[in-house]
Amino acid sequence: MNLTLFVWRQKGPDDKGRLEQLNAKDISLEMSFLEMLDTVNEGLIKDGKEPIAFDHDCREGICGMCSQVINGVPHGPQEKTTVCQLHMRNFKDGGSIYIEPWRARAFPVIKDLIVDRSALDRIIQAGGYISVHTGGVPEANAVLVPKEDADTAMDASECIGCGACVAACPNGSAMLFTAAKVSHLAMLPQGRTEAARRVCVMTEAMMQQGFGNCSNHYECQAACPKGIRVQFIAKLNREFIKAQFKGACRKSP
């Protein structure tokens, strides 16, 4: 198949950036979206031009590096699929595809389609961990966890931190990401002890990193390649309100 691409090209953080029109020729339907870009890049290199810079690592949908907004949707048209797992059979021969980086103030563009997502790491650093040493693998029946709680924690832990929720949010908010991390740990006994402090410091960190406020558009849920639900945001809100009764947000970390 042959495609017309409109790709965001930006030399560096200070460059203004623009969409560049490129042709992708002889693309097979079996290629993944990233393999299609690899092919285009080979052509560009042959012509002595600068290849398109894009992020990727695992190429199996688990690392969250492949951050591209394709035709206005983070990770492209297929639901619950990362860019690396998206295949060219989802596109029409002869069509055009717009490829842009995540856009949010907290995610500055480094080059072309690569953005700096370390703001998410700083939200985790603020409190997305447990500080007790749990030792080795515990005996399975020592601390009992209800099956539903384990399942819910597992669902929340599926978040790969790719940042699609931020890219999709009209407010540039990282609430779905933060909520997944808060919920994941709050569901389990090891994480429960620090739950009140955690929800306070992580939401504060989210603001300090320049992310916006959630106003319940639910675009994040629709864009999430791992199917993280907005019910986790409701859970975060509950945790936050509960934390007020413990005065956990008044003390600065």
């Binding site: 842009e100 856009r103 009209p170 540039g172 916006g212 406020n213 864009a223 409701a234 947000c249």
Partner: protein
Amino acid sequence: MGFIKNTVGRKVVIAVTGQLMVVFIIFHLPGNYFNPWAMTFPAIGSFIWIVRLALLLSFVLHAFFGIQSELENHKARSGPYAVTKSLSTTFAAKTMIWSGILSGVFIIFHLLNITVSVIDESFQDNYAVAIGYAIGLSAVCLHLYHGIASFFQTMGWNSEKSLPAVTSIGKGMALLLFGGFICIVILNRG
């Protein structure tokens, strides 16, 4: 960082104050039909003033934090996409700030018109005023079309199962309230 400086804390303030105003509006509607008390409030001692103060405080806090978070959200974006495609948001959700401001203007006008009687034109006699009411009510309806359901999510009173029902009931309530109030305007035009 305290409650009202936190992103969630502020949202809770916006949600609770917004919902308080919704509760008032719900009482305000049948009162208009059955009995003129809703127009002037029940004059049970100081009760009327407690309600008025609570509503005034709600209005001010709601507008302040609503506008503040909207400004922050605007800053958090880094320019528009060349192509945008909404997957789940609604027109009502995207225009909250504008429907909110229009509602605020309408409420101030309504109070000057009915409660304080500074504006001495009634929608019964003046077409322009009646149209003003229709626009104002539409803005409130649009605001609540997203707002009522959104309140439950903000308070965390939501689950995977209840979300679709809560969303539909919220939208339905907004439309019902609009229908109820617009009938007063239309019926009294004569």
